[in-house]
């Protein structure tokens, strides 16, 4: 299937940012008609390599060739014109425009300068039909889910006679059915001779779709391997560069004893809390030291539950008691006051302050809790920051680097550490491991276990059932904006049963546990 001549080569690529060496002497090549996975932990340099390739960043050193001829793109526009299209993790389309327009804007079919809207819609429908999508092409893109928006972005990319298609973590917000559909499309495009560069954190997906794998670590090249010659375990070892005992530490903690933590007054007791249009009224108790997993599909109301608990959205009805005392929790400030912390899934928009340094980001929540009139002494700041950088192994371990220069996983750690510094009694983690690599993921999982052993209550929201089952004492299941079940995580509970509950909504009888 692979041609003998690569369509794209990158040789000796180096790139530095203030305080961070993002890439060092990296080589990469891509053949027509292959799916090539680019793997590495967060901060390994994957995103930087893609941005260098598409001309978002200049290279400090190194050369890129396309079809044997040296190229240097001045930006994504020029790269696209040359046949190198990118679909980003975050959908970069305009939600105010229609689906059809998002696919064709910039190259609409025209007659004497006038856009032929009928033709635009017809071609959009045809293109989406090829991807097996049946959408109303004249509806605004914003009326569709993120997953659909992602597919529309791919439709846009492949319409531009692309020879190289770069998919930068396209699956991180898709569910299994959508991923299967995406893979079908990827295979189809590969068979048409398009070279696909695929970045993901899901190892299973790599083995399902990729023909070859290139591994990066700490900005350097580890190697390029055919997928069949690289067992999954070796891949992970190459990515994190150490033997894989980290995962095992967690397994011992599985099957956690619910009865042991669930005694006395619950730390937080929620009864019939709900908000019209967001989530049906639900009841839930969380005890000190308990990890409650919240499972469910995307859009099933998981985040809405978290936002209600944190006071970020106002509830229509129901009560919340913290330590037995009725509490309002109408605003985040009240929630923080009662010892509740919330790590949003949307870390870029709702969490970190990208221009401030790691230290300043870490201190932010604690300083807010103390009030601005009582600054935290610099020495105390440095101690705290050093402690948490070490505890969460934030890289680079430099407190003065602006957070924007950190990778996604490390930004997530900074956000987590910010809440940990305030020593909350209940920490709500919304998708803390999404889009971050396996090493960081394991570290965060381990941390959750340690925190709960230390008496902190955790509400853990994740799309990955294995992760939820590994960490939780009990699992609350969301389905269609309703909390349909709360299942004790005992020997009888496994991923299949949770999935059944998600699918069927049964097990209601256990809801009062």
């Amino acid at each position: 299937m692979t041609d003998s001549r690569p369509v794209l080569t990158m040789t000796g690529i180096s790139k530095s940012f203030p305080g961070v060496r993002a890439l060092h002497d990296v080589n990469f090549r891509l053949f027509p008609g292959e799916v090539h996975a680019l793997m590495g932990e967060n901060g390994a340099g994957k995103s930087t390599l893609i941005k260098v390739l598409t001309g978002v960043y200049d290279t400090d050193e190194g050369a890129i060739t396309l079809d044997g001829a040296p190229v240097s793109f001045s930006g994504p526009m020029q790269a696209t014109a040359a046949g190198v299209s990118t679909v980003y993790q975050e959908v970069n389309l305009c939600t105010n425009l229609s689906v059809a327009e998002n696919i064709f804007i910039g190259r609409e079919p025209r007659l004497l300068g006038a856009v032929r809207w009928g033709e635009v819609r017809r071609r959009a429908r045809a293109l989406l039909a090829r991807l097996d999508l049946d959408l109303d092409v004249s509806a605004p893109l914003g009326s569709y889910s993120l997953a659909i928006q992602q597919m529309v972005a791919i439709a846009r990319a492949i319409d531009i006679q692309a020879r190289v298609l770069i998919l930068d973590e396209p699956t991180s917000s898709l569910d299994a059915g959508e991923v299967a559909q995406l893979f079908r499309i990827m295979r189809q495009l590969r068979d048409e001779g398009i070279a696909i560069l695929f970045v993901t954190h899901f190892l299973d997906q790599v083995y399902e779709i990729a023909d070859r794998i290139t591994v990066l670590r700490n900005g350097g090249l580890v190697g390029e391997y055919p997928t069949i010659e690289l067992p999954q375990l070796s891949l992970v070892e190459k990515m994190i560069g150490k033997e894989l005992d980290v995962l095992e530490g967690i397994e011992e903690h599985s099957r956690r004893d619910l009865a042991a933590v669930e005694e006395g007054t619950p730390l937080v007791a929620v009864s019939n809390l709900g908000r019209a249009g967001a989530v049906e009224p639900f009841s839930l108790t969380i005890h000190a030291g308990e990890v409650v997993g919240l499972a469910g599909l995307l859009g099933s109301g998981r985040t809405e539950v978290a936002r209600l608990l944190f006071g970020a959205d106002r509830a229509d009805g129901g009560q919340v008691a913290v330590n037995g005392e009725p509490s309002g929790l109408r605003t985040p400030a009240q929630a923080i006051d009662r010892g509740i912390g919330f790590c949003s899934e949307n870390r870029r928009a709702e969490g970190i302050v990208a221009d401030l340094s790691v230290r300043e980001n870490l201190i932010l929540a604690m300083q807010a809790a103390r009030g601005w009139l009582r600054p935290i002494p610099r020495r105390r700041q440095d101690e705290l920051v050093e402690k948490y950088i070490k505890a969460l192994s934030i890289r680079p371990a430099d407190p003065e680097v602006p957070v924007r220069n950190l990778s996604g996983g490390n930004q997530q750690k900074v956000l987590l550490a910010r809440w940990l510094i305030t020593e909350p009694r209940l920490l709500i983690l919304d998708e803390p491991t999404r889009g971050i690599d396996i090493g960081a993921k394991t570290e965060i999982q381990k941390l959750v276990t340690q925190l709960s052993d230390g008496g902190m209550a955790v509400l853990f929201i994740s799309a990955e059932l294995e992760e939820v089952l590994r960490l939780s004492h009990k699992v609350a299941v969301m389905r269609d904006r309703q909390m349909v079940a709360q299942l004790a995580n005992d020997d009888s509970l496994d991923a299949d049963r949770v999935m059944q509950t998600i699918a069927s909504g049964t097990h209601r009888e256990e809801a009062d546990r």
């Binding site: 105010n96 997953a147 299994a176 059915g177 559909q181 859009g299």
Partner: protein, 329 residues
């Protein structure tokens, strides 16, 4: 976790929510007209509507230019001063005896040139449109008084003809040539926004400039273009105003930029950009004009009531935009 087909992936019901603000403006306009007709007999005369257009033709043209700018999420505070400067330059050149055609060309070049320069400053130096166009506003206003400290009358034949020419029906209702020019501008603008790449890029930039850039759209060029267009519309507006008043006055149109912004927003264009129609802007200008007419008909009300009503309406419309949530994620 399989969910099967994606065909039903819509997360929200589709309401014509993009049209709601325009429909609300239309409803408001009809209600106000209804009030006028029921209160005052003469209000039902067609000429009342025509007069609204005659009195506000220049405002309409300027508002159309502002619609382009606001659709990209920008703002242009210089328009009122550019209108005045264009009228002043025309009056002054005519006074010095230059032929009307040449004066027209010169007057129509000044506005777009200033707009182009402001657009370049906004794009290349990444400065807030608010502050750049504020500078433009002071500059153009200063130029007015530099040309002359007092009003200059226009006696040119072409100008007076344009001012006095009536195009009407046999029953005596009429409009001025300025109204026809204003309509032409509206039609060209509506076509540009709906059917040309420039127009669509304007919408895309207003929706999400970052995405527009990554989609390979010429963001910088489009930004510069909208300020140039706004400058051109202000220049045309200035000419129309000089037809209307047959003079150039250094202090005319002070605060006009705010009326214009109010008209565009009441017409349903969202201040953050990405959503709005030229037709809505026409309605917005009409709302302003009809309020003035109602107050004139009443006779006992101070003209400042216009401002009070506009203030209330503007607030109500911004609330409306917020409530129906034009902010797609």
């Amino acid at each position: 976790m399989t969910t099967g087909s994606l065909t039903a992936g819509r997360t929200r019901l589709r309401l014509p929510r993009r049209q709601i603000p325009v429909l609300a403006t239309l409803a408001l306009l009809l209600v106000m007209y209804g009030i006028g007709v029921s209160q005052y007999q003469a209000f039902s005369n067609v000429q009342v509507i025509f007069n609204v257009f005659i009195d506000n033709g220049f405002l309409l043209v300027v508002a159309v230019g502002m619609t382009f700018v606001i659709l990209t999420g920008g703002i242009d505070l210089s328009v009122g001063s550019v209108v005045a400067m264009t009228a002043m330059v025309s009056a002054s050149l005519l006074q010095q005896g230059l032929p009307a055609a040449l004066v027209l060309v010169i007057a129509l070049l000044i506005g777009p040139t200033l707009g182009l320069l402001m657009g370049c400053a906004i794009h290349f130096f990444d400065i807030q449109p608010f502050i750049v166009t504020l500078a433009g506003m002071f500059f153009a206003r200063g130029m007015c008084t530099f040309i002359s400290g007092s009003s200059i009358p226009i006696t040119d034949g072409f100008w007076t003809r344009m001012s006095q020419e009536r195009i009407g029906d046999p029953r005596g209702n009429f409009v001025s040539i300025s109204v026809l020019i204003a309509f032409a501008v509206v039609v060209v603008a509506a076509y540009t926004l709906a059917y040309t790449r420039l127009g669509r890029n304007v919408h895309a930039i207003g929706g999400n400039p970052q995405s527009a850039l990554l989609m390979g759209l010429p963001v910088g060029r489009t930004r510069i273009a909208v300020y140039t267009i706004s400058g051109l519309c202000s220049a045309i507006g200035g000419i129309l105003l000089s037809f209307y008043t047959l003079s150039g006055a250094p202090l005319i149109g002070v605060g006009m930029e705010l009326d214009v912004i109010a008209a565009v927003v009441i017409g349903g264009t969202v201040l953050t950009g990405g959503s709005g129609y030229v037709f809505g802007t026409v309605l917005g200008v009409l709302v302003l004009g009809v309020i003035q007419t109602l107050i004139t008909f009443d006779g006992s009300l101070n003209s400042w009531w216009t401002k009070i009503v506009i203030g209330g309406l503007l607030f109500a419309f911004i609330l409306l935009q917020r409530l129906i949530g034009i902010r797609y994620k």
